[in-house]
Amino acid sequence: MGTVILLALTGLGLAALYFLVASGLSLVFGLADVLNFAHGLFLGVGAYGTWWAAGNLPGAGPDGFGFVLAVAFGVAAGTLVAILVELVLIRPLYSRTIEQVLVTVGLSLAGVALLQATWGADARTFPRPDWTRQVTGILGAQVPNGGLLLIVAAVLVLGAILAFLRWTRYGLVIRAGVENREMVTALGIDVRKAFTLVFAIGGAAAALAGALGGVYFGTVSPGQGGSLLIFAFIVVVIGGMGSVIGSAYAAVVVGLVQQFVNYYGTSGLGDICVVGLLAVVLLLRPQGIAGKVATA
């Protein structure tokens, strides 16, 4: 029983990480039709920003409020990069899909190279509060606190995004834009502002995933964003492009399948099962679990 609880909660921790990356990716694709292969860069910037701030930013550190400040710095850096990417590189290329893919793929490669050139290719030990290295006993299972932190963060982010979509004017514009972007402009709304906003939201969530992923894994490396991005894309497709709720459901399914199959089967089999699940969803329900709806 303890093993099942442990696998379930660590699977949910992984799911939380996937959701944080996938939620922004899904909104960006749903609203702006941009398949952003550079999304992993925002995660990398968040992780390295937090790592750098914990050691260099006055007031920041690996513990207590200092750690909160370091994470806030990492998230702000990731958000800023996301906004700049949208304004400078993506905005001139809306409706030019192939160029967008080339630019975002190139940017993701260049971003990894830049992180490597600046801080080296080797993984760095991530500064994290002591309590995140410890475990908490839940129903007989010793669950790492880092995973629980990720779950709490993902639930809070999910709630915040849903509240934003449901209760704010821009949330309304985004929900409408995911359904029919052209009609939003035909009502006199400059939908490009919403594009920038979803990039900022996506960048912030991915940067938070980078910071908390560093806590979860204990290290940060330049390629971390890229490898997580693959599973985030799978989550987005399974959940339904544009659906935050769909991404949450899909992340839970993918995280749990990976964790349980990797434990009870062979290591790595869980990843293959997830790809198989993706194929099944594409064949039977290509619009994903929730379809193209920015649910609030």
């Binding site: 809306y94 309304l172 409408a176 009609m183 939003v184 402009t185 400059d190 709806v293």
Partner: protein, 259 residues
């Protein structure tokens, strides 16, 4: 009177197809001007070019002016904020949003939305505020699409096939609303239902093969059965029979003519 809209030598190419080939016409500052033509002649393309919704791969040339102001190359949201209201073909309500949310989207900062006017025209929208727009009937969706545009002041309304696919009773209701709307704002209407055209339109512009084939008084056009048949493909019985004439003239009855 100066026209509210002037279109001169408008050409639109999309994916290699030369859809509009030098279209020129004007829209009077009052009443309804109807844009007619067989399917595929470029009526919707014309409206979309005016409101700046030609696909990015398309090419638009010519002149489009609202008053003295050139509309070409201006983004759609600015045109709409400048007083160009657009009700698209197939309604395009946001199915996942409620009726109230659909209306709220059309609100603009710094202006007071005319909910009183909209709910006076469409009381059902007020009653169904919490209902998802996707679950409305076709007629209710059309009312929502028109109501959304009427929340703000407009200098010109572009309305694309508002009665398409609607039941005859609803067609009559929509026509009544457009008639009342046209008392205060000029309308450029694309419409296939000749009963509605006869009831609403003062001027007509007929497109054929991407060019203007005829302009003039809409009722005169409908009385010229040979001309109507050649331009619109409508049989003489549909336009000139005594029963059809009485239907066309009657506000209470609307038919779904197709060609």
């Amino acid at each position: 009177m100066e026209p509210v809209l002037t279109v001169e030598d408008l050409s639109v190419r999309i994916s290699g197809l030369h859809i509009l080939q030098g279209v020129s016409f004007t829209v009077a500052p009052t009443g309804v001007t109807v844009l007619l033509g067989r399917n595929g002649v470029g009526k919707t393309t014309t409206l979309r070019a005016i409101v700046g919704l030609t696909p990015p791969a398309g090419e638009v040339r010519g002149t489009i002016r609202m008053g003295a102001q050139s509309l070409l190359a201006r983004p759609t949201h600015r045109l709409v904020r400048g007083g160009l209201g657009y009700v698209p073909e197939d309604r395009c309500v946001f199915a996942g949003l409620t009726v109230a949310e659909n209306l709220r989207l059309a609100e603009r900062r710094g202006t007071i939305p005319a909910y009183d006017k909209v709910f006076a025209l469409f009381p059902e929208l007020d009653r169904r505020g919490r209902q998802r727009a996707g679950s409305l009937s076709g007629g209710q969706q059309q009312m929502l699409a028109i109501g959304r545009v009427l929340l703000n002041d407009n200098r010109l309304l572009l309305v694309d096939e508002p009665t398409k696919g609607l039941a005859p009773k609803v067609v009559t209701e929509v026509a009544e609303v457009l008639e009342r709307v046209a008392e205060s704002v000029p309308v450029l209407l694309v419409e296939q239902n000749l009963a509605v055209v006869r009831r609403l339109a003062r001027d007509a512009v007929v497109l054929a093969a991407g060019r203007v084939a005829w302009t003039g008084d809409a009722r005169e056009l409908l009385l010229e059965t040979a001309l109507t048949k050649s331009l619109l493909g409508v049989g003489s019985a549909e336009v000139s029979s005594p029963s059809a004439r009485s239907e066309l003239a009657s506000p209470a009855v609307a038919r779904k003519d197709r060609h």
